[in-house]
Amino acid sequence: MDKLCGAAQLIRALEELEVTEIFGYPGATVVDIYDELLNSQKIHHTLARHEQGAVHEADGYARASGRVGVALVTSGPGATNTVTALATAYGDSIPLVLISGQVSTSMIGTDAFQEVDTMGVTRPVVKYSFLCKKPEDIVPNIRKAFFIASTGRKGPVVVDIPKNCQSRSYLFDYEPSSDMHLRSYNPTVYGHKGQVNRAAEELCKAARPVVMAGGGIVQGAAGPMLESLVARLNLPVVSTLMGIGAYPCNDRRYIGMMGMHGLYEANETMHHSDLVFAVGTRFADRATNNVRKFCPEAKIIHIDVDPASISKTVHADIPIVGDAAAVLGQINSKLEELKAQPHPEIGKWWEQIAAWQDKKCLSYTEKEGIIRPQRVIETLYRLLEGRGAIITTDVGQHQMFAAQYYRFPGRRNFLSSGGLGTMGFGLPAAVGAQKALPERLVVTVTGDGSFQMNLQELSVARKYNMPLKIVILDNSVLGMVRQFQSVFYQGRYAATYLDCNPDFVKIAEAYDCVGIRVTEQNKLEEGLKQALEVQDRPVIVDVVTDTDTKVLPWQRADGSMIDMLLNTDLSQ
């Protein structure tokens, strides 16, 4: 048996867990780990420029690849800087493991230099956390952390390791891995058989059914099962923001995103349906609007791996706890057994949906002398269609335009902070995604506000010659808040004008990247094409866009799904 120090054991355990990429930032309490990392042939380390960036990068890596993202930071400020990024991953159920250094066990509780109660600070924003009190705790805790992060409803897990537990002064036997069993943690995989049968029967009976696809389909790799269910019964599909790409957005059965800025036809379909078949969604407030007015005529079938998500906000008539892929597999078998056919009246339902689609809720008029933000996304989609590009976003108007106007053909193509709504997510997430999938084209759609949170990560992208395309919808304002002020606060624009923005082209040049500015619509396509040609470094395309354009449709607060402001209601 090999005798190794705690830090070396950590690296070996990570290698056994098939970790190949760590995003991190060093400091006093993790120098031993960093030293051992130099010896590893299997694990590559990416040096972030901020700990928040490191964890968003691990998050983007996980979202793009489906694997567990790993980040490594030091104690104190290193750990507190990760909180927003952990909460981002927690909000969207993304599997990642954060390894944080801690002051030595003898110093814990003394207010030592760079000491903070990492377990305490992160507790509300992680799925679970471990503090290693002795060197022997490190390996078992890391294995448990990976298991917990990547099973059930996925999420971030913290492993806090005091400096003395890593030290080379104490060598001990490496415990080989064995089957993982945690008596207090047993996520349900298969759905209750009686409930599955009831769900299948209701699906056959519904004349106006709709599938509500959530992020759980992506996380649970349940796409193919959903597609065969939808095809068999000829069902319309809408998705939540996190469910974008769960079902191919270019398929005719996909209606669009639902919710606060969802498509008119998607929200109408939900509201008038008689059966909502919801998979892997938590019925978040941005998806449902007022839950008491939500889909008044519909029975709700709710499939989720997290029992606490069921009937939390919207009452489920048929709750099914289980893994999305497993439960959809069960329902498909039952439908097969029933020789299920599309409902005889489904054609009428589709006609109704087509009428709603005819409303063309995403149409807009051009504006003299200025580029519409929607035009940028449409042009981008036209240029990228069929190339399997990954789009990451920040948060705000640009995020909604990307969600509405880009047709995502598959899963893990749209990486966005849905639950927490974290500005500053887009660029580091793109770095992580590009690390995971070096051959793929990765594009960040961002705004001039969001981009200035975490733009330091541009260094990382440059260091690895990543050909990221960063498209800034630059309207000189915090557009989403401004549109609230414009409509509901009589145009009193408090703190939404980004006075004194930097020159983003010069920022690109300062980081030794390529900067392109587009101010005229007839130069838009050319500018984007020029960016797509750059292969050896990131490109920033600063597109100057209209300040007054609003994201529409827009649900009225506290209303039902169909209480929407449309492009015919608001002048643009």
Binding site: G120, R123, P124, R183, S184, A308, S311, K312
Partner: protein
């Protein structure tokens, strides 16, 4: 409505803070909380008294279940055979004269309480009963005497009959 929730939880660092954190995070109320290791020292038994409507109670139970460190959760007031609850109270009183001492002694005899500590100036009473009985006992004592200190344990609970929480 009053809910008594019983939990088996891993006896490990930070486990209790996760339970308490869950209540404060989601805006639930803790009226009382008791916790101690069980016959299996790696597990603790915890009884929480909380209030809320039935949807809230269901959410609390689900959210507790979801905590990785929690093995079993049961709402004792929903047990089909019912449940037994007990609370313990310690009351320290001043005993300025013989009359007071005699009154307190006879009161504690009537209630089946115990005088567990005596000093020239004070008595300490111990009483065990359901929360309601403890309330009644306390109110009676407060009417009869001044009180220096009151310590209540919080509710302990167990299901009736052959229902039990197994590890």
């Amino acid at each position: 409505m009053r809910h008594v929730i019983s939990i088996l939880i891993e006896n490990e660092a930070g486990a209790l803070s996760r339970v308490v954190g869950l209540f404060s995070q989601r805006g639930y109320n803790i009226e009382s909380l008791t916790v101690a290791p069980t016959d299996d020292p790696t597990l603790s038994r915890c009884t929480i008294l909380t209030t809320g409507d039935s949807d809230e109670a269901e959410q609390i139970t689900k959210q507790l279940h979801k905590l990785v460190c929690i093995l079993r959760v049961s709402a004792l007031n929903e047990e089909k055979n019912g449940s037994q609850e007990r609370e313990l109270v310690l009351i320290k009183l001043p005993t300025p004269n013989r009359n007071v001492r005699e009154d307190i002694k006879s009161l504690s005899d009537i209630f089946g309480a115990k005088i567990i500590d005596v000093s020239p100036e004070t008595y300490t009473l111990q009483y065990v009963g359901s929360s309601e009985e403890v309330d009644t006992f306390c109110e009676t004592v407060f009417k009869m005497s001044d009180v220096l200190e009151v310590v209540r344990s919080g509710v302990l609970g167990i299901a009736r009959g052959n229902h039990y929480m197994h590890s």
